[in-house]
């Protein structure tokens, strides 16, 4: 009988102990952040979508269009469109023909930077395999946490354009139009 009563008291006491914790934290300063008015402090180390690293010249990517990233990607979200060989002017063609006649090897004049670097963020799992496999370190994660869009196509990027926009070279829309994305990918 006495034991039962003591049990009841200790049971009730456990509730009081819990309430004491509640009271303590009720009076403590707030730990949450009123988000839209105040930014959270922990997003610096977050790794968002991919971006191209620019070479010395602003707006020109370091990328050499080797395609290792596209090969390594587990979800096939990268497509590197290489530049075509520029058509030689008559003088250049002549010089080349002369060089060939002398037995010299013609120099490869194809620009190395990609024409387009298509990136489908909807497929990307942010594993970083592409970055690790880039021989020149031309890819990096952005810290962008606030990326949002109205349609699927908003997440199809041409990273070359994005880089140019960042450098302020061209005011072209960064996202690739849906029909180009379909025909190139």
């Amino acid at each position: 009988m006495i034991k039962e009563a003591l049990n009841t008291v200790s049971d009730l006491w456990s509730l009081m102990v819990g309430l004491r914790v509640t009271k303590k934290y009720f009076l403590d300063p707030q730990v949450t952040v009123r988000y839209p008015w105040k930014a959270v402090s922990n997003i610096a180390s977050y790794k968002g979508h991919l971006e191209l690293v620019s070479a010395k010249a602003p707006g020109k990517p370091k990328c050499i269009s080797c395609g290792m990233c596209a090969l390594a990607c587990p979800s096939n979200c990268l497509t590197v469109v290489k530049r075509k060989v520029p058509k030689p002017t008559p003088e250049q063609a002549q010089a080349e023909a002369e060089a060939k006649a002398k037995g010299e090897k013609p120099k490869d004049k194809t620009p190395k930077d990609p024409e387009q670097f298509l990136y489908d963020y909807t497929l990307c799992s942010l594993c970083g395999t592409c970055m690790e496999n880039c021989p020149v370190g031309a890819l990096a994660f952005t810290g962008s946490t606030y990326l949002a869009g109205y349609s699927r196509e908003d997440f199809h990027f041409d990273l070359v354009q994005v880089l140019k926009n960042q450098a302020g070279l061209e005011g072209v829309d960064a996202s690739v139009a849906p029909e180009t994305a379909e025909s190139e990918a």
Binding site: L15, G18, Y25, Y46, P74, N133
Partner: protein, 388 residues
């Protein structure tokens, strides 16, 4: 005038109809829990009720089957690592480790010692985060709302720490074949060192707030007793087996990495009920802190990724192997068979949640419906992991 009314939707689907065939007369067939693709991690259990007592229960799986094992067959070993973070969102690094460990074992790759310690630290931090998620969600299931707020306060701190080296907060793909992707920087180590005493000071608060609370104790004490024999028959591992008094922890039973060098206790409980499993997890969090503390002290300087680490095009040498790690829910195993080709020939993933859930049908028999929820929660199920 007669109107045609289609009552097909009331008859239930295949599973319900099949289940109802053997139902006793006058018993109610009830579908517990929703299933919908947009609500991740929900479980459907069909139960046969006599009044409030469960006569029979059958978990229905497969709604979150994502073909991870099949996907392993069409990717190279290194390309499969991001998948492993998505098998179990609770303890993603444990799954990372199981697969990476199997590939390393088959390829005969030595992992640098610093990488091993980093793996131990991050894996244990992830275990704490997983147990905190379980703790909050379990109490939410039992009707207590505020504990999850306290749990997420601490869990946020762990996620902030893990975000520094991994770059993400939930589905990590951080381990690489032959090491880890990135070293822990000074900021990260400082945060871990600050976190350990902080979390130690929080654990007594958890005890005061919830563990000793009479309402919780009445809810979970003596509920869902699982005999050791049942655990063995179903292959239950992790806190479910340890809560029944089976001293089995992969970190001790099949030591891997640097765990033999670390001093920690494998907690077990003889209570066998939901309370036992609860206690085991609470002590495990303390032990994880101890492991992290030691690992931080013992961590040597050096490389974090072995030189000449496998590229994505790396072919796993022919052969077969099994590698198991201790996850937050139990033994995570990866069985890898390679024929030396570009892709792995076959990968079998052993999910602890599947075995732990299998128990439920037997254990819940004869209990009240409300207790069944307490039992189900105490098993710490992550549904994507069960279906894989």
């Amino acid at each position: 005038m007669t109107t045609y009314q289609n009552n097909d939707h009331l008859a239930g689907d295949f599973y319900t109809q099949n289940f109802a065939k053997t139902a006793g007369e006058g018993n109610l067939i009830l579908n517990l829990g929703p299933q919908h693709p947009s609500t991740h991690g929900v479980l459907r259990v069909v139960v046969e009720l006599d009044g409030e007592y469960i006569m029979r229960a059958e978990p229905i799986l497969g709604y979150l089957h994502r073909m991870h094992e099949k996907m392993a067959e069409v990717k190279t070993a290194a390309q499969f690592i991001p998948n492993m973070g998505r098998v179990d969102y609770g303890h993603a690094l444990g799954w990372n480790w199981a697969f990476v460990g199997a590939a390393e074992k088959l390829g005969g790759i030595e992992v640098p010692e610093r990488a091993e310690y980093i793996r131990v630290i991050t894996c244990e931090l992830n275990r704490i985060a997983s147990h905190l998620l379980w703790w909050g969600a379990y109490l939410l299931d039992l009707g207590a709302f505020t504990p999850i707020m306290y749990a997420f306060d601490d869990r946020e701190k762990v996620l902030d720490i893990l975000q520094i080296p991994t770059g993400s907060r939930l589905t990590y793909s951080y381990y690489r074949i032959g090491g880890v992707a990135q070293d822990l920087n000074a900021d990260c180590i400082r945060r871990i060192q600050e976190f350990i005493p902080w979390f130690r000071s929080r654990l007594p608060m958890y005890k005061d707030l919830v563990s000793d609370n009479i309402i919780l104790r009445k809810r979970i004490e003596g509920i869902g007793a699982i005999e050791q024999d049942t655990c063995r028959r179903y292959g239950a591992t992790g806190p479910v087996a340890r809560g029944s008094g089976i001293n089995y922890d992969v970190r001790r039973a099949q030591p891997y990495s640097v765990y033999p060098k670390l001093d920690f206790v494998v907690p077990t409980s003889d209570l066998k009920d939901a309370r036992g499993r609860y206690d085991v997890r609470m002590i495990e969090m303390e032990q994880s802190l101890r492991i992290i503390e030691q690992a931080l002290d013992m961590m040597p300087e050096g490389e974090v990724l072995v030189k000449g680490a496998p590229k994505p095009s790396w072919k796993v040498p022919a052969g077969e192997t099994y590698f198991a790690v201790e996850g937050a829910r139990g033994k995570i195993g990866a069985y890898v068979v390679s024929d030396g080709g570009k892709n792995i020939y076959r990968t079998k993933l052993r999910a602890p949640g599947f075995c732990n859930l299998s128990l439920f049908a037997e254990v819940s028999q004869g209990t009240i419906l409300a207790d069944a929820v307490a039992i189900l929660g105490s098993l710490d199920l992550i549904i994507p992991e069960i279906d894989r």
